[in-house]
C-alpha cells in the first residue's frame, strides 16, 4: 500500500473519531445533573429568573435542536459562546492552548531526558545497586499523585529555596521556559517513571539479543553497538507508549495548571465542567481530540521510520 493511501485511511479514522467524540461529549454533558443557568444564577435565583435565563440562553429548546446547533457551531469552527465567561469559545481556546502545548511539550522533553539515561544505567547494571535505586525512585514517583508532587516542588524549590517562581506564567517565551519548568517537571516525573520502566525492560531484552552479541563479536565499538543497535530497537515500544500517554498528559495538565496557577486549557476545561459551560467543554474536547489523533498519527509515522516492518 502506498503512503498516500495509508494517510487517507488514517485521516478518515480521525474524522470518524472526532464525530464520535462530538456525540459522546454532547450526551455526557447534557446528562450531567445541573445546568449552566443555575450555576450562573446561584442559590438565590427566583423561579422567574431561572426561567428567563434558560429561555434567553436557549436551554429550553429540545436536546435535538441543541445538538444540531452544536454541530453547526463545530462545523464553522466557532464553537459558540461561553455562557459563564460571555466570550466566544474559540477566543478562549486560542488564548490558552499555546501555554498548555508548551507545558506538555516541555514535560515530554523532560520525561525523556530523565528516563533515557536512567534506563540505560539501570539496564547496563541490571540487578546492581544503581538499578535497585532507580527502580525504587521510579516506583515512588509513579505512585505519588500529581498535585502532591506539584505542592512538594512548590514548597521546596519555589517558596523555600526561591529557585523558581511560585506558579503563574511569564511575559514572553523565555520567561515561560522558566515559569513552566516546575509544572513541566511535575508532569514529567510520573511519565518518566513509566517510560523508564518500559525502556529498561526493552534495553535488557535487546542487550541479550543475538544480533547485539554478533555486533559486539564483530568488534564494533561499545557506543556504536549501543547507539545503532540497542537504542534504536529498544526505543520503538517506548515511543508508542509515549504517544499513548500524551492523552493522559493533557489530563495531568488539568491538575498541574490548577496547582501552579497557569491559565491553560486544562484549567479552562475543569472550570467549564464545573460551570456546566457546555459550549466550552464541547469545543475544547473537539480540539483536543483532533490534536491527540494527530499525535497518534505522528507516533505511527515515527515508528515506521524506526522500524521498516511497521509500514509493511
Amino acid at each position: 500500500m502506498n503512503i498516500l493511501a495509508i494517510l487517507a485511511r488514517r485521516l478518515l479514522h480521525i474524522a470518524a473519531t472526532v464525530v464520535l467524540v462530538a456525540l459522546l461529549i454532547f450526551v455526557l454533558m447534557h446528562f450531567l445533573p445541573g445546568d449552566p443557568v443555575m450555576m450562573l444564577l446561584g442559590d438565590r435565583a427566583s423561579d422567574e429568573q431561572i426561567a428567563n435565563m434558560r429561555h434567553r440562553l436557549g436551554f429550553d429548546r429540545s436536546v435535538v435542536e441543541q445538538f444540531w446547533e452544536f454541530l453547526k457551531m463545530t462545523a464553522s469552527l466557532q464553537f459558540g459562546e461561553s455562557v459563564s465567561m460571555k466570550v466566544p469559545v474559540i477566543s478562549l481556546i486560542v488564548d490558552r492552548l499555546p501555554i498548555t502545548l508548551m507545558l506538555t511539550s516541555m514535560a515530554v522533553v523532560l520525561a525523556v531526558l530523565i528516563a533515557a539515561p536512567l534506563a540505560f544505567i539501570a539496564a547496563l547494571r541490571q540487578g546492581g545497586i544503581a538499578d535497585a535505586i532507580i527502580r525504587v525512585i521510579s516506583q515512588v514517583s509513579l505512585s505519588m499523585p500529581v498535585f502532591y508532587i506539584g505542592l512538594i516542588l512548590l514548597i521546596t524549590l519555589a517558596a523555600g529555596l526561591r529557585w523558581f517562581p511560585v506558579g503563574g506564567i511569564g511575559e514572553n517565551f523565555f520567561q515561560n521556559l522558566y515559569y513552566l519548568f516546575l509544572p513541566a517537571l511535575t508532569l514529567a516525573l510520573s511519565l518518566s517513571a513509566i517510560l523508564l520502566r518500559n525502556l529498561r525492560e526493552a534495553l535488557i531484552e535487546v542487550l541479550q539479543a543475538d544480533y547485539v552479541s554478533f555486533a559486539t563479536a564483530k568488534g564494533l565499538m561499545r557506543h556504536t553497538v549501543l547507539g545503532r543497535h540497542v537504542l534504536r530497537n529498544a526505543w520503538i515500544s517506548t515511543i508508542t507508549l509515549l504517544g499513548l500517554h500524551v492523552g493522559s498528559l493533557v489530563g495531568g495538565a488539568v491538575i498541574t495548571e490548577t496547582v501552579f496557577a497557569i491559565p491553560g486549557v486544562g484549567r479552562l476545561m475543569i472550570d467549564s465542567i464545573f460551570a456546566r459551560d457546555y459550549a466550552v467543554v464541547q469545543g475544547l474536547t473537539m480540539i483536543l481530540a483532533v490534536m491527540v489523533s494527530i499525535v497518534f498519527l505522528a507516533v505511527d509515522a515515527l515508528q515506521a521510520l524506526l522500524d521498516p516492518r511497521v509500514s509493511a
Partner: protein
C-alpha cells in the same frame, strides 16, 4: 467555592472608603505611586455594572464605575458621590440630584446628565438590565434639567432607593463610549465595551488576560481629592493575579511575589497573623453560614420528613453547639448568628446568639414531637469543600447526642444546585453575603415565600410575606424597623434554618500595604490604598 464566584454582593461603597480615610488616617502621610499586586481566587467575567452578577465582578466594580451616591462606612446611610446634592420629595415619589461640577470619565470626556439617565435606564430595563435590575425596579422614569440636574420619578416610595443608587448596579457609564463600541445592537456593543471598559471610577482597566491577570490603573480625572491636595487614588495601578489554589496563593504571598491575597483559609489565619512580614486582617463581613432545612411534610422520594415539625427544627438548633462549629470551621474567627440576617445589615435585631446550646431542651422537644430516639437526616455537602466537610462532621457528633443520625451526601456544585432548585433535598449547607446595605435583599430570598419558597425551604409565614411587602414601600423608618423586627422574630421561632455563624473576610497583606479595605458587602476598595516604600 461556588459562593466566591457566584452570586453575591454588591455595593455601595467606594465611599465607605472615602470616609474611612479620615477615620483611620495613617500616622504618616500616604505615599503616591506603585503597583499593588493582589491575588484573587477567581477572575472577572464581565465588566459592565448593569450585567454584573458574580462576586468577582461585583467586588471590584466600584473601582471602575462610580455611583451617584456612596454608602457610608457603617452602611447605614449614603453620602455624595457623583451627585453632590439629593432631594427626596416628602411623598418619596420624586428624587432630585444635583451633579458634581466638572466630573469626567477616565478618557477625560465629561460625565453628562444624559449619561446618568442612560446608565440607570439601561440598568433597570427589562431587556437591557440583568439579575440585579430589581434594585432599581421602583423607578418609573428619569428626566434631566439643564446641565447638572437629574430627576427620578418613582412608581412608589422606595425606602431602599438611595442605597440601591450606591450599589455596583447603578454605576455610571458613558453612553457615547458604549455606543461607539463595535456591534449591531446594544447587546453586542455592551459586550465589546466590557472587554475594554472606560468608566467613571477611581481606576480604569488597562489590560486583561482572562484567567491570568487584570490590571487597572489610576484614573487621572477622578474627582476626589486626597489630604495632600492632589486627586485620589494614590496607587498607579492594581494588578490582580488569578490563583485559585488556596495553598499556592498563600505561598505566593510568603515568597513576596504578591502584595495581598484574599480568601486565606481560616485554618491558616493564626499562622499568618504571627508572621512579622504580614498583616493578616479579618474584615467584618455581612456574611452568614447556616444549614437550610427542607420543611415540607414529605421529601421528593415520598418519605415523611421530620423537619416539617417546628419542634424538631428548634430541637436541632438547640442541639447545635455554635461555639464548637466556630472553632472547628472558622478557627475561632466567626461569631454566632443572632438573626437570619448578618448583624451589620441595617435593621438587624440581635439579642444574643439564637438557640444557645442546650441538650436537655433539645431532647425534650424531640420527645414532644414524637422522636424520643431521634431519626435519620441527610445533608447535601459540596464535594471537596474542607469547610463543608468540617461543618457537617461537627454536626454529626453533636446531633448523635440527641439520637439524630446525620448523613452527608457529597455532591459537586452544579448537581447540588439542581437538586436544591428542585427542592429535592432534606438539608444543605448555606452561605449568604449581602449585596446591598438593606435587609430587603436577604429577606426576599430567605424569608419571603412567593418568589423562591423561602430559599427553597418550603417554609411560609403569610404574616412575614405581608410584612415584607409593606416594608418595601414603607418610608417611616420606625415603622419599617418594627416590620423587620417582627419578621426576624417570626423567622427565628420557626427556625427553617440551623442558625450558625457569621464569618469575616480573611485577607493577608505584606506590611507595606496600607489602607486597603474590604467592606462588609465584600467590595474591595483601593481608593485610599498606598504602598509604604
Amino acid at each position: 467555592m461556588k459562593h466566591r464566584t457566584i452570586g453575591l454582593l454588591s455595593s455601595a461603597l467606594a465611599l465607605a472608603l472615602a470616609t474611612s480615610t479620615f477615620l483611620t488616617a495613617p500616622a504618616h502621610a500616604a505615599q503616591r505611586g506603585g503597583t499593588l499586586v493582589f491575588a484573587r481566587v477567581a477572575d472577572n467575567i464581565f465588566l459592565d455594572p448593569a450585567h454584573t452578577a458574580q462576586n468577582a465582578d461585583i467586588w471590584i466594580s466600584l473601582n471602575l464605575y462610580d455611583t451617584l451616591l456612596i454608602a457610608t462606612a457603617d452602611g447605614k446611610a449614603t453620602e455624595p458621590g457623583l451627585a453632590t446634592d439629593t432631594k427626596v420629595a416628602p411623598d418619596g415619589k420624586t428624587l432630585t440630584f444635583t451633579m458634581r461640577p466638572n466630573i469626567k470619565f477616565a478618557d477625560g470626556s465629561p460625565i453628562l446628565v444624559s449619561d446618568v439617565k442612560w446608565s440607570l435606564d439601561r440598568a433597570r430595563g427589562k431587556d437591557t438590565g440583568d439579575e440585579f435590575a430589581f434594585l432599581l425596579a421602583s423607578i418609573d422614569s428619569i428626566d434631566t434639567q439643564g446641565a447638572d440636574t437629574v430627576t427620578l420619578h418613582m412608581k412608589h416610595a422606595d425606602p431602599t432607593i438611595l442605597q440601591a443608587l450606591a450599589t455596583f448596579n447603578a454605576g455610571i457609564m458613558s453612553e457615547k463610549l458604549v455606543m461607539a463600541a463595535p456591534g449591531a445592537n446594544l447587546a453586542e456593543k455592551s459586550k465589546a465595551f466590557a472587554e475594554h471598559p472606560i468608566g467613571s471610577g477611581p481606576f480604569v482597566l488597562t489590560s486583561w488576560k482572562r484567567n491570568a491577570e487584570l490590571v487597572m490603573s489610576r484614573n487621572p480625572y477622578y474627582w476626589k481629592i486626597a489630604p495632600d491636595g492632589k486627586p485620589l487614588p494614590y496607587l498607579d495601578a492594581v494588578k490582580f493575579v488569578n490563583i485559585p489554589d488556596d495553598a499556592t496563593r498563600v505561598l505566593k504571598l510568603k515568597a513576596g511575589e504578591v502584595d495581598a491575597v484574599e480568601f486565606v483559609p481560616y485554618s491558616r489565619a493564626a499562622e499568618l497573623k504571627a508572621d512579622p512580614k504580614l498583616n493578616m486582617v479579618l474584615f467584618p463581613a455581612a456574611q452568614i453560614n447556616y444549614f437550610a432545612m427542607n420543611t415540607r411534610p414529605t421529601l421528593k422520594d415520598g418519605s415523611k420528613n421530620p423537619l416539617n415539625d417546628v419542634r424538631v427544627r428548634q430541637a436541632l438548633n438547640y442541639a447545635t453547639d455554635k461555639e464548637a462549629i466556630i472553632q472547628v470551621v472558622s478557627y475561632g474567627t466567626g461569631t454566632p448568628q443572632q438573626s437570619f440576617m448578618p448583624m451589620s445589615t441595617p435593621l438587624a435585631v440581635g439579642n444574643g446568639p439564637l438557640y444557645p446550646y442546650d441538650i436537655t431542651k433539645a431532647k425534650k422537644l424531640l420527645a414532644d414531637a414524637g422522636y424520643p430516639k431521634g431519626f435519620e437526616v441527610t445533608c447535601m455537602v459540596l464535594a471537596g469543600s474542607a469547610d463543608d466537610t468540617a461543618k457537617v462532621a461537627s454536626l454529626q457528633q453533636m446531633w448523635a447526642d440527641v439520637g439524630v443520625t446525620l448523613k452527608a451526601e457529597q455532591l459537586e456544585s452544579a448537581t447540588r444546585l439542581a437538586r436544591y432548585a428542585a427542592s429535592d433535598y432534606q438539608m444543605r449547607t448555606g452561605l449568604w453575603t449581602n449585596d446591598i446595605n438593606d435587609p430587603n435583599e436577604i429577606t426576599s430570598v430567605i424569608a419571603y415565600y412567593p418568589t423562591r419558597q423561602s430559599a427553597r425551604t418550603g417554609w411560609q409565614s403569610k404574616r412575614v410575606d405581608e410584612l415584607f411587602e409593606m416594608s418595601q414601600e414603607e418610608l417611616d423608618p420606625a415603622k419599617r424597623a418594627a416590620e423587620y423586627a417582627e419578621i426576624q422574630k417570626i423567622y427565628a421561632e420557626a427556625a427553617p434554618i440551623i442558625f450558625t455563624m457569621e464569618v469575616p473576610y480573611p485577607v493577608a497583606m505584606l506590611k507595606k500595604v496600607k489602607d486597603f479595605q474590604q467592606i462588609p458587602l465584600g467590595n474591595n476598595i483601593f481608593l485610599n490604598t498606598y504602598l509604604d516604600k
